[in-house]
């Protein structure tokens, strides 16, 4: 369904010029720009997509989670500016009369929450990895990402 996204984009603005006799202007070479986006999972069915360029992690619940939850009718989100340590309760998702707590997969500060979920909680079911994102965290310890589960390891936690 998804694969751990690992993109390395390298953008070089200009090529170094050779030799001297050309009358082309000298253009200085800008440093190489590289973005790495990593997606990791927790046993409690949260995922975080971390962009090391911005230092932000986008938190979602997984597609497997939304399937086993049923129709989501309400999403309880943290407030912007609140700080969490990894494992703290971040909010909750309610479906079919069951309120399921969500936990912070990484430590950091909430910089944005998905306000659309207020009026459209069903987005979590329809588009758990994309439009149904829950909140964005500015990671205080980016290294925590490495301790989370890869997609393969995550799938093993719930498959028989």
């Amino acid at each position: 369904m998804f694969s751990a996204i690992r993109q390395v984009t390298r953008a070089r603005v200009s090529l170094p010029l050779r030799a001297t006799r050309s009358c082309l202007p000298q253009v200085s070479r800008l440093p190489a720009h590289r973005t790495i986006v990593t997606k990791r999972y927790t046993e409690d069915h949260e995922s975080v997509t971390f962009d090391d360029a911005t230092g932000l992690g986008s938190i979602t619940i997984t597609d497997h989670a939304q399937q086993t939850l049923g129709d989501v009718v309400f999403v309880e989100l943290p407030t912007v500016g609140s700080k969490f340590s990894k494992g703290d309760k971040l909010g909750a998702v309610e479906s079919v009369k069951a309120a399921s707590d969500i936990y912070a997969p990484v430590s950091g500060e909430v910089v944005e929450v998905n306000e659309r979920l207020d009026g459209e909680p069903g987005l979590v079911n329809r588009s758990p990895d994309d439009e149904g994102w829950l909140c964005k965290i500015k990671l205080s310890e980016p290294k925590e990402i490495d301790k989370l589960l890869t997609l393969e390891a995550y799938v093993k936690t719930y498959e028989p």
């Binding site: 309880e76 309120a99 498959e159 028989p160």
Partner: protein
């Protein structure tokens, strides 16, 4: 791999809500801690509450302020909780069940929707087998005797795959007057029903316990074992304490105070 039994206990006296919630929390913490040692027990608490209105996590304190004042004047408690679902009533004459289970015990773990589904099926099959009451299917969670009559409600919280809160089933007519004072579960056109009226029987709550335990066993595929309080350590002590407190709390209003 065969699963260990679910230990159940039925409380003899209607319990104060907040203290029972504290017991659930305590059991939850014990289960979380003993998980590492793989020795935590699945528990089913069966009980009645003293008159209380409770709300779920969707409603804010601000929204509930007026209701809180109005309803406590009737002689009931009012407590906000973290379970799913909205406003409801619990009181004598209604069987309340709190399955405190580890959904991760099985491989694969039981999903939440499945857990709720089994809870609904359990109540439906109990009503039919013990009282010949048929339910009607509904898009709403809970058990309905007809589209406008709800006989049982469900509201659950799940944290790290450990469940708290559960279900409530109206047995006698006593809860109905209290239900009439509110719009329960956000359903304006629905009224509360009970087994006694629907089946034309003089059933009391203690009469239904055995049948519900059996239905639970069938629905969840688990053996059930009565919890022996003396040999249940910390858990047994906490349950005994709560039983004593309930006795000491004395009587309660049978109908809402006007």
């Amino acid at each position: 791999m065969s699963l260990p039994p679910v230990f159940f206990h039925y409380f003899q006296t209607p319990l104060p809500y907040t203290r029972t919630l504290a017991l659930q929390e305590r059991i939850h913490q014990i289960q979380l801690a003993s998980r590492r040692a793989s020795c935590q027990h699945d528990i089913l608490l069966l009980l009645q509450h003293r008159p209380v209105y409770t709300s779920g996590r969707r409603q804010t304190e601000h929204e509930l302020q007026t209701e809180r004042v109005r309803l406590t004047k009737l002689g009931a408690d009012f407590v906000t909780t973290s379970r799913g679902g909205q406003l409801t009533y619990h009181g004598p004459g209604q069987l309340v069940g709190y399955p405190l289970l580890d959904l991760g015990r099985t491989s694969p773990p039981i999903g939440i929707r499945e857990y709720i589904c089994k809870m609904q099926k359990m109540i439906q099959s109990y009503l039919f087998s013990a009282h010949k009451l048929t339910h009607v299917p509904s898009e709403h969670t809970g058990v309905f005797l007809d589209p406008a009559t709800k006989v049982a409600s469900i509201g659950v919280q799940v944290r790290h795959r450990l469940t708290t809160h559960g279900f409530a089933m109206n047995v006698t007519q006593e809860p109905l007057e209290w239900f009439n004072k509110v719009i329960a579960c956000g359903l304006a056109d629905v009224k509360a029903g009970c087994i006694a009226l629907a089946a034309g029987e003089q059933t009391q709550v203690h009469d239904v316990v055995e049948g519900v335990v059996d239905a639970f066993s069938q629905s969840y595929g688990r053996d059930m074992e009565k919890l022996e309080l003396e040999s249940a350590g910390e858990l047994g002590k906490a349950i005994l304490e709560l039983e004593l407190e309930a006795l000491e709390a004395g009587g309660w209003p049978r109908i809402p105070i006007s």
